[in-house]
């Protein structure tokens, strides 16, 4: 009886050892390493300011987006990238969280048109609004320059107090469905965002 038990126990231990070894081999840390960060480089809001034209605050932003061979290669392979600019205007409160007045997002998409061999910048919401550039740098320069973007009217900041304008630029892989983006939650390294660039709204 004891011998039988001993044999069964040894067999069980062997099976479990094999399963554990196999599991260790299948674990994520054994998977191939992902490629390096494709959006490496400087991503920052270099300057930004607003002016009032006809009672409307217009935003001007100069952004530097990262450019690399990796990015160019990915674009040439058909990948499209989204270049978003987030703007928030909030009224500062001393003993409470700031009151959010405006939150806007400007969406642009950069892709490479392989047939015409040009870089195309377009507004994903407006399909007929697009421009093409012969080089990536020209396209990025065009993307990095935002001029006269109306963000709020004067009446929205009529209450006394200080108002804070914050701008942030983001780059991420474009043309992904939301479901696919959720699925890529763990592994998508095609996402970067700049620090917030903030200043007080002049009044």
């Amino acid at each position: 009886m004891t011998t039988k038990d001993g044999k069964a126990r040894r067999l069980w231990v062997r099976i479990m050892t094999m399963v554990c070894l196999w599991l260790a081999g299948a674990m994520p840390w054994q998977w191939p390493e992902l490629r390096a960060d494709p959006l490496e480089g400087t991503l920052e809001v270099q300057s930004a300011f607003v002016n009032v034209v006809g009672g409307v605050y217009q935003l001007h932003v100069r952004t530097r987006y990262p450019s690399s061979d990796e990015t160019a290669s990915a674009l040439r392979d058909g990948v499209s990238l989204s270049y978003d600019v987030d703007v928030e205007v909030a009224r500062e409160r001393r003993f409470w969280a700031n009151e959010n007045i405006v939150t806007l997002q400007l969406k642009r998409e950069l892709s490479y048109h392989s047939v015409s061999e040009r870089y195309v910048v377009r507004d994903p919401l407006l399909d007929d609004e697009q421009k093409s550039y012969a080089t990536l740098d020209e396209a990025l320069a065009a993307l990095g320059s935002i001029e006269s973007w109306p963000i709020l009217v004067v009446l929205q900041v009529a209450e006394p107090g200080a108002y804070l304008v914050s701008v942030r630029a983001r780059v991420r892989r474009g043309r992904l469905t939301d479901a696919l983006r959720a699925l890529m939650f763990w592994s998508d390294d095609w996402q970067r965002e700049s620090e917030w660039y903030s200043w007080s709204l002049p009044r």
Partner: protein, 746 residues
């Protein structure tokens, strides 16, 4: 019970929290999948919730496993069964899960790889190249036309050029023709669009190209499936440093059919590129998600297995604990009834069984107590019984013995229970050897039931033989088939002695009455014969008469003395008890005897703190007289002759006695007579009546005293008499009969 209930409640709360976290995480994932912005906001919380869920389940599982291992090591009832079940369940869950996991991983890898096959990529590239070639032909055609138009403009004046632009627009089908001058200033333009549409500034690369004297060609996607072919050519002969017109830009719109085809190819290429870039991240995400699901499922299943096994085997654990309690004799334990299924039925049956066992044990205890009570009663009765009772089997293995048996046989039999009678260290003590021999001879005859009077000679010959009335009755056979016998016996020696004493008293009384009466006439007649005849006779006749009458008178005197002794022995007058000093009495009597024979030294050792004794003084004096007379007679011819008399007070068994020892250095008692010297008419002296010691013993017994005699180790006889010191002591003192038994046993 309360602790277990709290623990269960805590476990349920933890499980509910865990389930809520997992469900919340799944719901958040579902919500975020609908909206990527929301997903971005929820991302940290989803991470936190997922990590918390995994941590919680790992913590719960670790705790459960630790508890299980601890219980297994300490041998808690049911832990081995639980462990085995958990292992089996875990294996049953793990194997299919792992199999599915392996195949899913393989399927994912192969499936995702199949989306991005090389053939598709190559096909798309070829389509792009083909499209580009086709468009290139058209663009070159448009470019050639633009070059020719530029050449034609070189000889035109400014006004003519404007008309030429319009003419060319109509003839070429271009959508826009712009003539640029110095500093990219628009010199003239013709367009198919509304006239107010101002042409854009020429692209920088265009300016660079035409500045170098080359023709510029580009295909520009403008959205909505529209493409523009932009051509530009420098106007030959026009130095760029001078003149107005510098280069011409002609924009054509790609025909709709071409444009749509190009758009399709481009869209396919882009979509494929997007997807191809997702290949590795997708695989990674699927693997990670699958692994997390596997881990959560596996850990959850193991935890569930442990939890279920604990719930399932809780009644079993209770039953094992109950069984152990029952094995230890605790029939009061009840296993809690937690369900009404088969296990509940088993628990109910166990509780019924313990209840019945408890009732049976109580009945057994009651019966045992009753038997024990009866046994105690029997022991008390046997202890109080003056007769000896021994229960033995045929081999004389003692089962039960009472105290009186030992007293009668002169042996301590309390340690002989369970041993064969007569085989112990005291086998040669008292009456035991003779008694054992008698029993063996009786059993040897095959008679199981008998009643006889037997005379036993003690092992020590200095004491007299004892007569026992002995009866043997067989007991009902036991289940083991061993025969047992109850032997009841009693010492009737003193009873017989008393009967003999009574008979001797009667004989003495009759002798005194029948013999004493004729003695006086005989003596008187003999004296008258001598008085009458002696003067009348002479010589030898007178001498003969003298001697004869003297002999008659002397013998009559002796007979009178003998008759008086008998009379004294038979007489039993009422005792005249008075308190007196024994030492003084001893002194008086010894002084009297010293005066009779100075050759015998009499030494007295009188107790200094002796109490006065309450007794019949004259009869105590007679005791002393008889003992000293015996000593004097024994010392005849012995020189030096010494008689030692000693008095002392002793406490024996809680009673105070006055002890009187009389010892001499004579020849002592003959060994064959020691047991019989108290019998009347037993004497070793030629002139003794044999009544002296009998009378002494009678007087001592009348005083409820004790008497012992024997030979001293240094030679000579010694008689020890003990009297109770007071009337009260005499009333409660143990009788001479018991005293003698104890003496013999000692």
């Amino acid at each position: 019970m309360v602790a277990a209930a709290l623990s269960n409640r805590r476990n349920r709360i933890l499980i509910a929290i865990w389930i809520a976290v997992v469900v919340g995480a799944l719901f958040a994932l579902f919500l975020s999948a609908q909206n990527s912005e929301q997903f971005g906001r929820l991302q940290p919380w989803i991470l936190l919730a997922s990590a918390a869920a995994v941590l919680v389940i790992i913590g719960l599982l670790a705790r459960k496993i630790y508890q299980l291992v601890s219980a297994y090591r300490s041998g808690v009832p049911g832990s081995r069964l639980t462990s085995r079940t958990v292992l089996v369940f875990s294996a049953l869950v793990a194997l299919p899960l792992l199999t599915v996991y392996v195949f899913s991983l393989e399927f994912l890898n192969r499936g995702i790889d199949s989306w991005f096959r090389v053939e598709i990529k190559q096909g798309l590239n070829d389509a792009v190249v083909l499209s580009r070639s086709a468009l290139d032909l058209r663009m070159r055609e448009y470019g050639g036309r633009t070059e020719r138009f530029a050449v034609s403009l070189s000889n035109q004046s400014a006004g003519g050029a404007l008309f030429a632009l319009d003419e060319e627009l109509r003839s070429s089908g271009a959508s826009e023709i712009v003539l640029y001058g110095e500093y990219e200033r628009i010199v003239g333009a013709a367009s198919q669009e509304v006239a107010d549409a101002l042409p854009d500034r020429p692209p920088a690369d265009l300016v660079r190209t035409v500045s170098s004297g080359s023709t510029y060609l580009s295909l520009e996607p403008v959205g909505d499936s529209r493409y523009l072919i932009r051509t530009a050519a420098p106007i030959p002969g026009t130095p760029f440093s001078r003149g107005d017109a510098r280069f011409i830009v002609v924009v054509y719109e790609l025909p709709r059919q071409f444009a749509e085809l190009t758009d399709t190819v481009q869209r396919s290429y882009s979509q494929y590129g997007d997807l191809a870039a997702l290949r590795e991240p997708l695989k990674y995400s699927f693997r990670l998600t699958l692994t997390m699901v596997l881990l959560v499922t596996l850990l959850g299943a193991i935890y569930g297995a442990i939890y279920s096994a604990e719930i399932l085997f809780k009644p079993v654990q209770d039953l094992v604990a109950g069984t152990r309690a029952v094995a230890k004799g605790d029939f009061g334990m009840r296993v809690p009834l937690t369900s009404h299924d088969e296990m509940g039925f088993l628990v109910q049956s166990f509780n019924d069984m313990t209840k019945r066992l408890r009732r049976a044990r109580e009945e057994t205890e009651s019966s045992r107590a009753a038997v024990e009570r009866e046994r105690e009663w029997l022991a008390i009765i046997l202890a109080r019984l003056s007769a000896g009772v021994i229960t033995v089997d045929r081999d004389l293995l003692v089962q039960r013995v009472n105290e009186s048996a030992g007293s009668i046989l002169g042996v301590d039999l309390s340690s002989t229970v369970g041993r064969v009678l007569g085989l112990g260290s005291d086998a040669e003590t008292g009456l035991l050897p003779a008694f054992v021999a008698e029993l063996r001879s009786k059993f040897a005859t095959g008679r199981d039931e008998w009643r006889e009077q037997i005379e036993l000679q003690p092992a020590a010959s200095k004491t007299s033989s004892r007569v026992l009335v002995c009866a043997c009755v067989p007991l009902p056979k036991e289940e083991s088939g061993v025969e047992q016998f109850v032997i009841v016996f009693d010492d009737v020696t003193h009873l017989l002695q008393a009967q003999r004493d009574a008979a001797w008293g009667e004989v003495a009384r009759r002798l005194a009455h029948e013999i004493k009466n004729p003695l006086t006439p005989i003596q008187l007649s003999a004296e008258r014969l001598r008085r009458k005849l002696l003067p009348a006779l002479s010589g030898s006749d007178a001498d003969m008469v003298e001697r004869s009458t003297h002999t008659i008178v002397q013998q009559v005197e002796s007979m009178k003395q003998m008759v008086n002794d008998f009379s004294e022995y038979a007489r039993a007058p009422a005792m005249q008890v008075a308190t007196f000093d024994l030492n003084r009495l001893v002194t008086e009597v010894t002084d009297l005897y010293r005066s009779q024979d100075a050759s015998i030294e009499m030494v007295t050792y009188l107790g200094e703190t002796l109490l006065e004794i309450a007794a019949d003084r004259s009869r105590v004096r007679q005791v002393l007289n008889n003992l000293l007379a015996n000593a004097f007679e024994a010392l005849e011819g012995v020189r030096p002759a010494v008689i030692e008399i000693r008095t002392s007070a002793i406490t024996l068994e809680g009673h105070t006695f006055i002890e009187l020892d009389v010892a001499d250095n004579g020849p002592g008692f003959q060994s064959d007579m020691i047991g019989r010297v108290f019998n009347p008419y037993v004497t070793s002296k030629p002139r003794g009546t044999g009544l002296g010691l009998a009378i002494v013993k009678k007087i001592v017994e009348d005083h409820r005293g004790r008497i012992e005699l024997g030979n001293r180790p240094s030679g000579g006889a010694m008689v020890r008499v003990m009297f109770p010191v007071s009337e009260q002591e005499r009333a409660i003192a143990p009788g001479a009969e018991q005293g003698e038994r104890r003496r013999e046993r000692a």
